[in-house]
């Protein structure tokens, strides 16, 4: 087949292309697309495999995932301030919510348009956006190498784990939460991190690797580069589902964690679709579905009965979940920069 391109057909094609660029709403009207942020790991898989299909059948619209960590989302939304935001739904851990509210990056959640919002356990009904799950930190370990589950954080300092302990840099939520928890156990306070850094210095001979990001951290487990390390309940479940030898246990000092939430971004392009998408995350049926492996997402709806891995390693009831100790992000957030810097100085070789 020969396609003849003359000046007229070229101009026609260019004009049509130009029109499509100039009037994106025409192109979009056919199939609307919502751009939603999500976290790498458990959540991008749950969003892609469970929530997106449900959203498609409920609204006819598609979802484009933007797989970015919370701090990166804040950076991107800040950079786009005053313009079209890069995504309509933000996916934050507790500390980023404070930053985003302060910067005016998100708007109050229109709870009235969200039928499942009222079904959440009251403490998860935040006016800036519903809490869709909790992230809980504890000790991850390789059951092939460590046959008796560790009982306390102190075990990380035992000489037998020389070179076998892993850590992650402080730009991840896991890193900063572990440091804060360590600080609490060692008698520090939100204004005095000296005890945590002292403990960290003593831990360094045991530390075999400090990952620069969570993706690299997962690889450390996959490659069995480390045997024991602070880790997040959901990341462990995701890796376990991929046959990586890793188990999760809560130390005697108790579970510590934070909430993860969804938010309507200021100046969102598709605000109604965004709320529908967020509301799906609160639907008891969906929450029950993503509570199953390989996701093991901790539910926040009062209408979901806890079951599965959550009940064996974390919480039997909703009351147990309420007992998971939180962090004072109002006090921790302003120090984040200084803590990262201090941490880097301590660990740099």
């Amino acid at each position: 087949m020969i396609i003849r391109l003359n000046r007229r057909t070229m101009m026609g094609g260019a004009a049509a292309f130009g029109a499509a660029l100039a009037m994106p709403h025409v192109a979009r009207a056919q199939a609307k697309t919502l751009v939603a942020a999500t976290f790498p790991g458990t959540w991008n898989e749950a969003d892609r495999n469970v929530i997106s299909p449900a959203f498609k059948s409920a609204t006819g619209a598609a979802v484009t995932q933007s797989i970015v960590l919370g701090t990166d989302q804040v950076a991107r939304l800040t950079a786009a301030k005053g313009n079209k935001p890069p995504f309509d739904v933000a996916f934050f851990d507790a500390p980023q919510v404070l930053d985003a509210v302060k910067e005016g990056l998100i708007v109050e959640y229109p709870a009235a348009q969200s039928p499942n919002f009222g079904g959440l356990i009251p403490k998860f009904q935040d006016k800036w956006g519903p809490k869709i799950t909790m992230q809980v930190i504890g000790i991850g370990y390789n059951p092939k190498k460590i046959t008796t589950p560790p009982k306390s954080w102190e075990e990380l300092w035992e000489p037998k784990y020389k070179g076998r302990v892993g850590l992650t840099a402080l730009n991840s939520q896991l890193g900063i939460a572990f440091l804060a928890e360590l600080n609490r156990i060692k008698g520090g306070s939100e204004t005095d991190f000296e005890p945590a850094f002292k403990a960290l210095r003593e831990l360094l001979p045991n530390v075999g690797a400090i990952a620069a990001n969570l993706g690299a951290y997962a690889t450390l487990w996959q490659q069995e580069q480390i045997d024991i390390a602070p880790y997040n309940f959901n990341f462990v479940q995701t890796l376990k589902a991929k046959d990586v030898p890793v188990e999760f246990t809560i130390p005697q000092t108790g579970a510590a964690g934070w909430e993860t939430s969804l938010h309507l971004v200021a100046n969102a392009q598709e605000p109604e679709l965004a709320v529908k998408y967020i509301d799906l995350h609160l639907d008891p049926k969906i929450q029950a579905q993503v509570m199953k492996p390989p996701y093991d997402v901790i539910p926040t709806s009062s209408k979901v009965t806890l079951e599965g891995a959550i009940t064996t390693s974390l919480a039997k009831t909703h009351d147990d979940l309420a007992k998971v100790r939180g962090f004072d992000w109002e006090k921790l957030n302003p120090q984040r920069g200084a803590l990262i810097e201090r941490f880097n100085r301590e660990i740099k070789v």
Binding site: A75, T78, G208, I210, N213, Q223, Q225, R345, K348
Partner: protein, 279 residues
Amino acid sequence: MRVKGDESSLALPLAAVFVAFFVAPLCILVVLSLHGEAAMRTWTAANYVKFFTDAFNYSILWQTLLLGVKATLVCLVFGYPIAWVCARSGARLQSIIVFLVIMPILTSVVVRTFAWIVILGRQGIINQVWLGLGAAEPLRLLYTETGVIMVLAQVQMPLMVLPILTVMSKIDPNLADASRVLGAGEWRTLWRVTIPLSLPGVIAGCILTYTACITAFVTQTLIGGARLIYMPLHIYQQAVGANNWPFAAAISVIFMVAVLVIVGILGAIGRRSETFARA
């Protein structure tokens, strides 16, 4: 080369793209680095003062620049012979070698780097062989500078080989013949004729490899981990982790200037070697 006025206007669209998407953001970066906060309300030189009054920052800059030197040297030591063999072989073998050299660029740098994690890890190929030979402890390669240099040298190798190869294949083969006829052996010919003539390619290859190595954020962080802090990770952590954009901008500017100085020096050597080659 002189370009007539009406022809140089052909470059205007490209120039406009450059100004809009390169020069303008760069100016914003410089201006931001001179402010106290991301909203750019107060002018200050504090970010630069902070960088230059803290040995921690220098050591990162210094180690980054040094990493580039080491990786570039490894690239040169392995890349030069490849280019030399390739330039001297027949057309068929030459295209096979060139294909093998280019192949790494055809896969994403993330994929290549992850492959290296599998190779360098405790359970990796190198350590399997090492332990198989009877060693008691696996070698520590992942999360060490040695590992980073090994991976950078492989990942950036094409940037070294291709410029050298281009220059080498332009060298008149009669010159080597003449050298031999005049009684010089293979080594002497290589040392006195081929290497001096190929220097411009070596310099170009070094500039490309060096700049690529020191800015290789993905490879540095995935293979090096968080304890080996190089400038790209430092900038990323300040910008995204610590949300301190002005300081991140300032260290970016400092890093850029440092790299430009080194590229300038290499370029000057390159120009001298060209005059030398022509003389």
